[in-house]
């Protein structure tokens, strides 16, 4: 790469869309290679990044145009193996199309960061906020995090490079945010001072590349060959599980350091509690729904109810230990999913994991799996207050709502009179 003059970004607050915040984060992180294929509602990430690269605002960054999402991930994997900081973005069907390569990225332990403007799975076509797309990639070895605000998209992508490129971690990560609700609405976002971002992030990989994989004619190697069942295949899979679980501590550390440098708090990194200390009814919620739920909790507090919420920030690794501690605090815990896991014990991905986390702990807390906002269905503040009131009723009377479907409350179903 030729030497080009550096661009100095000073700290400033600008009003931008969530997708543009993701593009700015990639720019602040000085990513060296981008490949992305446009798909609604992610398209404006691609547009903004190509604008940055074309306009000379990302010196030294290669932008590779390809014909599909499968090739996007393949080219990003190639660039990452060569020892570069890489970025891409996709959503919904694009992520599904990428799926084979998603496994390759994790199996090769590449610190690729991918923004996901989440949308519902087709058919029927749906392009609105629903986390089923990122949840579909749950078991690939990628870490995944949900964002609730525009600022969090920018911040989370920066924190992702810190965690993923840690030599003790070396895993890829999804940063998911609700399509349209965050991707296409505008809010003020603080773009950080370039020097401070450089100070926070690890240095870009040098020409020797990552410690475990590189492309170097003087040090030839082969990766991706066949391992027989009698070989170490099982043990290499075990290493991914061991690493992603140990990454929880790295996430907490990176979040703490982020707060020290930039002054924005994201709880312990894995979860963020809101009014939970003296609450006896709580709700676990994630993504954009969590933002409005803060208001619902405040309103109900004013009415005298001891309610609180937990914003789930990470889905993989799942914050099992934190969920156990949360459940100990309350008598009733609701879990709100905006995404489906058909045929699972609850039908919702996170509620199933919360129940699994509490099994064998002896905790008597009642857990109510809930669903709302599927396929981008609007969830009003009043509806969210109603959801909490259902939990309060469960605590006070011990009675489950009578319209549970296979044990789960599907809130806000259409009824035509």
């Amino acid at each position: 790469m030729s030497k080009v003059k550096d661009i100095i970004q000073n700290k400033e607050t600008i009003i931008i869309k969530g997708n543009v915040a993701a593009a700015y984060a990639a720019k602040s992180a000085r990513v060296q290679m981008i490949s992305a294929y446009p798909i609604t509602p992610q398209t404006t990430v691609v547009e903004k990044l190509s604008e940055f690269v074309d306009g000379g605002l990302m010196p030294g960054t290669q932008y590779i145009r390809v014909e599909s999402e499968h090739s996007v991930m393949a080219s990003v994997i190639g660039a990452s193996i060569a020892g570069t900081r890489t970025f891409t973005a996709t959503s919904g069907q694009g992520l599904f199309y990428m799926n084979e390569m998603i496994h390759w990225a994790a199996g090769t332990r590449l610190p690729i960061v991918t923004a996901i403007a989440s949308r519902g799975a087709a058919p029927p076509w749906n392009i609105w906020a629903d986390f089923t797309d990122v949840i579909n990639s749950r078991d690939t070895g990628w870490m995944s995090a949900f964002c609730a605000t525009h600022q969090e998209i920018y911040d989370e992508i920066l924190m992702s490079y810190k965690v993923c490129e840690d030599h003790e971690v070396l895993l890829p990560k999804f940063v998911a945010y609700g399509g349209f609700i965050l991707s296409h609405t505008s809010k003020p976002v603080i773009i950080e001072d370039q020097d401070l971002v450089d100070q926070y992030l690890p240095p870009l990989p040098d020409e020797k590349g990552w410690p475990h994989i590189f492309i170097d004619p003087d040090r030839p190697m082969m990766h991706g060959n066949l391992i027989m069942p009698s070989g170490f295949y099982s043990e290499f899979r075990l290493k991914i599980q061991d690493t992603i679980m140990k990454a929880k501590e790295k996430i907490k550390k990176a979040t703490k350091e982020f707060e020290r440098l930039f002054g924005r708090n994201y709880g312990n990194g894995l979860i963020k509690e809101y009014y939970m200390d003296d609450a006896d009814v709580g709700i676990v919620i994630y993504g954009d729904l969590a933002l409005q739920m803060e208001q619902a909790i405040e309103d109900l507090r004013e009415e005298g109810y001891k309610v609180g919420m937990v914003k789930l920030r990470y889905y993989r690794p799942f914050p099992t230990e934190d969920i156990i501690e949360i459940a100990k605090k309350v008598d009733v815990l609701g879990v709100m999913d905006r995404g489906t896991a058909f045929g699972s014990p609850t039908g919702g991905p996170v509620s199933g994991d919360v129940l699994a986390s509490l099994y064998n702990t002896g905790i008597k807390t009642k857990v109510l799996p809930m669903m709302s906002g599927i396929g981008g269905r609007e969830v009003s503040l009043e509806q969210q207050k109603d959801q909490i009131k259902i939990l309060i009723r469960l605590k006070e009377t011990g009675e489950l709502p009578d319209d549970l479907i296979h044990g789960t409350l599907w809130h806000g179903k259409l009824e035509v009179k």
Partner: protein
Amino acid sequence: MSESSEWKKISKSKEERPKIQVYKNWKELPPIPISLPIEGNIGITGDWRTFRPLILAGCNKCGICWMYCPEGVIKQREDGSFIIDYTYCKGCGICAKECPTKNIEMIRESEAKDE
């Protein structure tokens, strides 16, 4: 990542690193499986062969077969002539196809006389 620093030797130059990596258990393994290029890494691939390439007497030592062989099993002798290592030759036939003077013949293994 790994309890052993043994695997870090893979990042050294070709001359400095070990020919064979030895790991006792999952904790000692590197993050990903890596194989280093050594002769016969994937076993005695000559076993796969159905047709055997034979270099005939009319060979003009041009070296095109040596250049095209995807497995690097054609070697040059001191007198400039070429010899095929049948321990690893998989019998793909690319050398016979590319030979400009048609001096490489593919014969069935069952009909070949072992030398």
